[in-house]
Amino acid sequence: MTRTMNSFTRTLAVSGLLGAGGALPAAAQGIDETVNQIFANSTGWFVSLIFSSFPGTNVPWIVCWLVIAATIFTIYFGLIQFRAFGHALALVRGTYSDPNDAGEVSHFQALTTALSGTVGLGNIAGVAVAVSIGGPGATFWMILAGLLGMATKFTECTLGVKYRNEFADGHVSGGPMYYMTKGFAERGLPGGKILAILFAIFCILGSFGGGNMFQSNQAHAQLVNVAGEFPGWITGLVMAVIVFLVIVGGLKSIASVTEKVVPFMAAIYVGTALIIILMNYDMIGTAFGQIFRGAFTWDGAVGGAIGALIQGFRRAAFSNEAGVGSAAIAHSAVRTKEPVTEGFVSLLEPFIDTVVICTMTALVIIITGQLVTDPETGMFILNEAGTQIQTASGDSGVALTSAAFSSAFGWFRYVLVLAVVLFAFSTMISWSYYGLKAWTFLFGEGQTKELVFKIIFCCFIVIGAAANLGPVIDFSDAAIFAMAVVNILALYALMPIVKSEMNSYLARLRSGAIRKFD
């Protein structure tokens, strides 16, 4: 029972990766196979632990953990994601920024940098996985998870700014490790240090998994899809060298260029998706019908409505990282007298990432008719193994998204390759930073110590590109969700602090003590 989810993804990995090629030269693939074997064997136990289900069901406890947390934060903060949405936009526009603080990190910059870490393959490949297993109904649960996740993100980012470390030379370090130690001490709670250490360990693993291997793996899959079959370690090596040059060699120009190109790629992606949706405007009603029906009823997808729910929530969490704690690291660099303002800004992140971008991907896949239905019953047809819905192209993961977009615009697969590689790259750069912060929290700051981490990080890029999607996606999810286990515990303990910050700020906003600048 516990391995049900994993066998799903593993099977589709094989079909996804081999679907494009065919017979492969055995020698060239030898290294990839060995890497894959060792990797799958050594991480299996960890994956099983994180994704184990409640006894007698096939509902993974970790998914419930995230959803319950997001629901509790939503209620506890009184639907803050909707109440503060307008104010969050005003903050990002700079309406409340003092012109004398110009030259410091703006809310806009903190938001876009954090977004470039989360907008990535989760939005392109992850959604395709969710929809092909859970059916269109997964989209509904994904959107709901995105909306609820906004409250979680608000909580963690407010704490991240409030308890960051500011060093004498002016640089700042923040994140869950710091609110666990300082926040717990302030409230007189025990165990903050232990949680912080656990979090740091999982964060390092997460930076190797979802923030690294999953990215290089899917970037390779997409390259193969366009350029034909070649061994994964070659892609891995090239990406590893570039990342090495940036994070070790201090080659800032590459990172800066990526940082500037990624937002435009995201805009092109969403724009194209919108055009495809509008071109098929007669299908929009049908698509939403399928989404709502699949969310609550049995439509032939794997696991029925429950399967849709699990897939939707799981991929949403992986994509927007709400509750994972990574955003708390990213947002803590902003300079503000009011930590809660950064919380407000950060709640836009799951909205943009999941409610907007992920939904676009899902709609394009559904509207272009990638999921095969039985013409008589209208139910979805499963593939031979029964692990996912049969797709028109026989693909899954990023290849399915590519097929969906290419069915409208043939050239888009080339744009998508560029988008995937750039998204993968920017996510890796962001996660190398998150991992490094956790590493220095554990081992202290220092040139040599940091170099060790960076070299290990680059090695995992190669491993990720060489291994199959199945073990990689399992380990990536497991490591990132392990961060959420520890982080959300801390959020529960510290949420009264966030509430008093929030109430005080909102009261001053209403009374006019916090004013706009023109």
């Binding site: 030379d169 002016g170 700042v172 300079r335």
Partner: protein, 144 residues
């Protein structure tokens, strides 16, 4: 009556000529000078995670460098010419920020040097001088 003249100064030859011209005007009319240095900055640019972390420190360094390398020597030069002088340093869009300084300080005039931008670049991005001429709340003198 003593008025304040804001001189946009970026260390270039053109801005030096503008300052020289402002000094002769100020002497003749008994005005004072505000040397304004604006560091080009947009809050809507995209930064990497490391840049975010170092931003506050960088800002301090940039302000310090501008103060010691650009503003201090010029301030001494104006003082030795016998003209009362203050300085202003801000981040932002250059033309808009010069206007804001003029407004905040209650200045009567803005002097800037002409950068000699022409052709495609000026058409695409607009020049500081042209923007300033259009949006300034006070008379603008552009020194070639």
């Amino acid at each position: 009556m003593s008025r304040k003249i804001v001189v946009g100064f970026d260390g270039s030859d053109a801005s030096r000529r503008a300052l020289d011209f402002a000094i002769t005007r100020a002497k003749a009319q008994g005005d004072s000078i505000i040397i304004a240095h604006v560091l080009e900055w947009s809050p809507y640019s995209f930064l990497t995670q490391t840049e975010l972390e170092e931003r506050h420190r960088r800002r301090k360094e940039e302000l310090q460098r501008a103060e010691t390398a650009i503003l201090d020597p010029e301030m001494k030069r104006v003082q030795s010419a016998g003209v009362p002088v203050t300085t202003a340093m801000r981040y932002g869009h250059i033309a808009e920020t010069l206007c804001r300084i003029a407004k905040d300080e209650g200045a009567a005039l803005i002097f800037i040097g002409r950068m000699g931008e022409s052709g495609i670049a000026a058409r695409l991005f607009g020049s500081v001088a042209a923007t300033l001429a259009q949006v300034s709340p006070v008379p603008v003198t552009i020194v070639p």
